[in-house]
Symmetry: C2
Subunit: 476 residues, 2 copies
């Protein structure tokens, strides 16, 4: 079996940035500087007749002036120069071009769409594969290739193909902070040549990729997509965010069954049928990437809730129940066990565990969590880092650090899936210097380092848990 | 008409903290220190036979040793001392007692519930009104009374009554960061004497309160609650979060119509019928408080979306449509107007406005927003502070500051409701020192100072907008 064409594209020995620029806010500068910053090992050739030096690199007036061979080209030239750029690539023996250049079919203009098609014909003539146009291209940390600032330099095991560059860049920024690292990310825009099916096919056997994420707006070949998706989903978790579920989806459905079904529900059903997991937005994609990366399989819906005060626990219970989790009361056997230990609040404590009733008692949240993790009446635990209203620096820091330590202990010493909520706050400038913010930051860092799945709210954790349960139950 | 009994309770000339403590993590210390810190103008009397000085204040062995009169008592004594404490309050002529003390009926124990009832009988005998037990009591910034750290010292116009102390404290912390300030907040726990109906009745004519928020778990008199709620909602916006929508609600519904209705939907319907606004969790309560505080009425569902890149705009469109907002395409008339201005992308630009197609064009997001705000085809604008994937310090700071400035301009110069999304991120410790975080913090601060409604995600903004539309449409 020959290697997938993407294998070669992803491992270029040299990259030329055609339309490289010396202006720091420009794409032509960004791509060049990022390759240097991320330590790309191959040759980097900026191309632009107007410059002689960009970021300390020699600049070539044209592709043909480059002394060595060029495997991969990043095109930052204007749309009207793309055809001649492709011809020059062909003459130079370039294997793949990432067309960052935009203003093609997405403009809705006939001549732009024709130019796009002509670009494809030219590329095929030369045997060149295209990524794009209208996209940010590759982020492959192992190879030192990237398109965004502040992306992790160290690699991970999440592979992403995204039709939106802006969306996937925001996603990478957000997911990084939750402990996600990436095998390779491809922003592929208009999908003129290589498309979502090619990327799915590539990721399916890819040993560097354990989880596949996909953001698609349009799918060119529905049958191939469904088959490829089903094959991929049989091997590893595939999470899909479908953008454009509204009008266009409505039209598709209307022409198919004339139903007035919710388009979102239809997409959910199709994705589920293929064995993949549906994400409603980029935030949910982050939550699902975290869940599949850090949690063991969740085999049922019985959830134990701990760490919050009364009201937050009650509302967390509602939110769990509303997505189909069972906040089961503790069993009679469980209660008898607490009683035998001589715990004074044996008759009172329950699930959810209200942290405020444990204070001053002879029973701790950790005691309760350890019992829940050992008992066979819970399938998962949902816990909160609880920012106590009274306590100030010393007492609050100690309490919060204690909570994080307890959750890490449970995670390490049991096989129970533990989801930890560390609430987010819309901080203004001054909060970044406050101790209470820094402690939350410290705890997020510690929890992630310990391999704990963290979430910004109970609701988001509950939704992610429910989707994992559905996924694992469907595979049984 | 005589003043509401709460009027006197909220303006005590002296407060005694019975069970005051010198231990910084304790409630008896916290209540005493907070009164000093927040500048309560009346007399503060810590009471505890074991101390002579707490926070520099003289401590009295018992209430009767206090030389002056005592209007209001905060009880931090153990449950078994509450009856004698109430008797001492009666002898001292105390008007109201906030029973912070817990371990009453919430334990589910018969003797604890009896003790609670006996406390009520004693209080009635002496003519004392009770807040609680099992609650955090009052936060009234104008009077310098508070129960939590980092609550705003300056007053505002949001009034809250909450059955959960932990929940409302987290809520105050989160809402503060979105620009919300409070008239008075009452955490009332078990509602033994004063209850949700009393607080609603008090807030309804209260001139310091423009918006009422309520967190309730149980309601003692359904008929009185519905009537009081309807009366309050006729005067000002009332936002309700009902905790415990699961099992108990299910039982209620089963015994009523034996339907398999979602309990959440039933609560939503009841609250809507009373003319109030339903919040699903504390986060949504924050979003609604922000929306009613900062936005003019939203009179219809036609939304213009701007500020994001392609993918985020597409998903924002889906999320808007899925909650029943209309992401209307720009009208022919609107397009003709852009064309007349000689804008090169007149045929391409649309709603949502993809910021990436404006870059390098002769048309800015501000131009588009100004036209949308003036046109009569939009009822609200939903915009994003867009953290660009390429740009670094100088270019990104300038771009983000420019976006915030544009949104403030639109808000100031037009009557259009503008909802601005400033995404939140689960920051670890090191992020607090990064420039990109500080710029977002700076922008949140500036936007809030300019009276702009900010939200952490498109989805949360869209849900809040939809609830405001429903509210204003129902009132027409």
């Amino acid at each position: 079996m020959s290697a997938h064409p993407l294998e070669e594209i992803l491992h270029p020995k040299s990259i030329a940035v055609v339309g490289a620029s010396g202006k720091p806010a420009s794409a032509g500068y960004n791509f060049t500087e990022r390759l240097l910053e991320y330590g790309y090992k191959g040759k980097i050739y900026p191309v632009n007749p107007k410059y002689s030096d960009i970021c300390g690199l020699k600049v070539y007036p044209s592709l043909k002036d480059i002394p060595g061979s060029v495997d991969y080209v990043i095109s930052c030239v204007p749309a009207e120069e793309v055809l001649s750029m492709i011809d020059e690539c062909g003459q130079k023996g370039v294997k793949a071009v990432h067309i960052f250049t935009a203003r093609f079919s997405e403009t809705g203009r006939k001549e732009a769409a024709e130019l796009e098609q002509e670009s494809l014909r030219r590329a095929r003539k030369w045997g060149i594969r295209l990524i794009g146009p209208n996209c940010l291209g590759l982020y492959y940390p192992r190879e030192g290739i990237t398109f965004g600032y502040s992306f992790p330099m160290e690699p991970g095991s999440v592979g992403v193909a995204s039709q939106s560059g802006a969306g996937v860049a925001l996603f990478i920024h957000a997911a990084r902070l939750r402990g996600i690292r990436f095998s390779k990310v491809i922003s592929y825009g208009n999908a003129l040549d290589l498309n979502e099916c090619d990327f799915l096919e590539y990721f399916t056997p890819d040993s560097e990729t354990k989880i596949i994420l996909l953001y698609v707006e349009g799918v060119k070949d529905g049958k191939r997509f469904f088959d490829t998706l089903s094959q991929a989903a049989a091997i590893k978790p595939v999470i899909i965010l479908k953008g454009g579920r509204g009008d266009s989806a409505k039209r598709t459905i209307a022409s198919h069954t004339a139903s007035l079904t919710s388009p979102m529900k239809v997409w959910e059903a199709l994705i589920k049928q293929a064995g993949a997991i549906y994400a409603e937005n980029f935030d949910e994609m982050v939550d699902l990437a975290v869940s599949f990366s850090y949690l063991p399989p969740i085999c049922g819906p019985r959830v134990g809730i701990a760490g919050g005060g009364g009201g937050p626990s009650v509302v967390a219970t509602d939110e769990c129940e509303e997505v189909g989790l069972d906040v089961v009361p503790i069993s009679q056997e469980f209660r008898e066990e607490i009683k035998r230990k001589g715990i004074s609040i044996w008759d009172w404590v329950d699930n959810p565990v209200d942290i405020s009733i444990l204070g001053g008692s002879d029973f701790t949240t950790l005691d309760m969590l350890e019992m829940m993790a050992r008992s066979h009446s819970f399938d998962l635990l949902l816990t909160l880092i609880f920012d106590h209203p009274f306590r100030q620096y010393k007492a609050l820091s100690a309490a919060l650090r204690g909570q994080a330590k307890d959750y890490i202990k449970i995670k390490r010493e049991t096989s129970m899936p533990v989801l930890v909520v560390v609430p987010e706050k819309s901080s203004g400038l001054e909060e970044y210097d406050r101790w209470s913010w820094r402690i939350l930051g410290e705890l997020r860092t510690k929890l992630i380092e310990a391999g704990v799945a963290i979430y910004p709210s109970f609701k988001r954790a509950a939704i992610a848990a429910r989707k994992l349960i559905d996924y694992y139950q469907a595979r049984e």
